[in-house]
Amino acid sequence: MRRYMIRRMALLTLSALLASSAVFFLLRTLPGDAALSMAGLEATPEQIQATRQQLGTDKPLWIQYFRWIGGMFHGDFGISYLSKLPVAAEIGRRLAVTLPLSLSAFCLATLISFPLGIIAAVRRKRPVGIGVSAVSSMGVAVPVFWVGIILIWLFALAVPIFPAGGFPLDGWADPWAAVRSLVLPVVTIAIVMSSTLIRYIRSAILDILGQDYLRTARSLGYSARAARWRHGVRNAAVPLVAIMSFELSTSLLGAVVIENVFAIPGLGAMLLSGVINRDLPVVQDIVFLITFFVLFIGFLADIVQRIIDPRLRGGSIDQRVVPDAMSEEEPSMGLRAESGRSKS
């Protein structure tokens, strides 16, 4: 297990380096000199040169790359071309909105999906189970931003319970106002996420319910319920860890889109304005941070799965147990982090 941890950490580092260099060098294929536009039209050549030095763009690309990576370890994420302010501080402010948004969406989706997923599996031949399955397979075809628009129409305009968008300017100073403005975005993400999650949970549980060891336990005198508690929960946990890790990533990506529906000043809104203004440091920092988050969640999921399932410990390094339904790309939001695939 320790050996696996070390190998898996090395892999995480390698993947992070690969991802960061891809982001960095792809963005450098853009023509143009940021220092020229930043220094302004009337700048003297000396001023432009000074701006280049300040940005570090006078150095060779690979030195710029390592400065960027090295800087991130010290919390130095570079300077925005547009606002000329440090990107790190701004990301910090934005995360104070995005993290609560995506984490509560994740929690709400989990709370909705577990009971419904279990019902869909256990009562799969009854109307209620079929109904849950049908609704959830419709749900994966719904664009997340459209759900947002419909919820704004229903619960912000037609019946004005919640604000149609925006976030208090003073952030969390008035917690109640902040929470109120996050309710609809959270529900939007949770609704769409639940559709996918219910399908995965249903499939994972159906898989477990058909296992021979449950029948063995019953033949030894355990009731079906006791057998499920004794053997089912732990075995179901293995694929569920994978599912939950993907959904955690998805909730962050959902937030990126939904912030723009509800005009919430989070990381997603910052990224979008960075893209539109070609603010390279902002784009490269945020894209890399989210990518690293996705990779890191995958890393944690792999470790947790191996703590639960001893069979995986000797296997290939990227092996991840996922339920069958996950082998296909789920188009949920069209934006989800994709599943690792391979069964033991």
């Binding site: 296992q211 060891y213 063995t216 033949s219 030894l220 005198g221 075995n235 293995v238």
Partner: protein, 270 residues
């Protein structure tokens, strides 16, 4: 004393007319050993599951099954839970899938010990060691701490047998317990079952498609074909003078095995 009576039992898939088994009748007394033999698809495994009321919900049973005084066919699940294990239990064909892959085998044996005999703590640990010893597994300490995938097929089947023994059942139903094993291991498991059944004074229902295997452990045979019992008699009698074509076929197959000097196919171990 009759422990198990099966009268005119038929099993069918709900919603489909064709029965999977039809008109099965037999009885089993204390210490009896009964063999159920037939090709795959003949209905012998679902018959075994029906005895414990373990058929999947998609199958329906008619007729009577009386196990240790309890009417299995129309008992509630909670009544069945009370007799499973203590009255009768099962050893299945695939020891790998029959064991929980994520639980150390010691704990898996501890389960029925607690359930049926109230053993916990040190008493349970001692009994687990004793059981592992009885199923002739070396180093009980190491084995008890192992996960199923760390053991060989034969060792896993011994664990499954130990779990069954932990219930102290009156009837042991062994459903093709040696089919998934290597030929040499098959013999060991058969001898082990033979010994344990005698020592414990259990009754045995042994299910297989393999006549040479079954003739080593049971005295009475039921031959099944397409869900019906086509021949019923003493093992020796049936082998000496088979009446039904299906029985003759099984004997023929068994002769081939004894004639052909070597088995070319290795059993595909998982």
């Amino acid at each position: 004393m009759t422990l198990l009576t099966v009268e005119n039992m038929s099993i069918s898939l709900t919603g489909s007319g064709r029965p999977l088994t039809e008109g099965i009748s037999f009885s089993l007394g204390k210490g009896d050993r009964l063999g159920l033999i037939g090709e795959s698809g003949s209905g012998k495994s679902i018959t075994a599951l029906a005895l414990l009321g373990l058929l999947p919900g998609s199958m329906r049973v008619t007729g009577r099954i009386v196990l240790a005084g309890t009417e299995v066919t129309n008992s509630s699940e909670s009544e069945l839970v009370r007799i499973r294990g203590s009255k009768a239990t099962m050893v299945f064909q695939e020891p790998l899938s029959a064991l929980d892959p994520l639980m150390r085998v010691g704990r898996q044996i501890a389960g029925p010990l607690k359930l049926h005999r109230g053993l916990v703590g040190d008493a349970s640990q001692r009994e687990i060691r004793a059981l592992l010893h009885r199923v002739q597994l070396p180093e009980p300490g190491r084995i008890a701490a192992s996960f199923p995938h760390e053991l060989s097929g034969g060792q896993r089947q011994r664990i499954a047998i130990a779990m069954a023994l932990a219930c102290k059942p009156e009837i042991l139903i062994a459903d093709e317990p040696t089919t998934a094993l290597d030929v040499t291991v098959q013999g060991e498991i058969l001898s082990l079952l033979d010994e344990l059944v005698t020592e414990e004074g259990m009754s045995l229902i042994f299910i297989t498609h393999d006549l040479p295997v079954i003739s080593r452990v049971v005295r009475r045979l039921l031959v099944m074909q397409d869900g019906r019992i086509v021949e019923d008699g003493s093992t020796a009698g049936i082998i000496a003078s088979p009446q039904h074509a299906e029985t003759k076929k099984l004997i023929e197959a068994a002769r081939l095995v004894t004639v052909v000097p070597y088995v070319s196919e290795r059993r595909g171990a998982k």
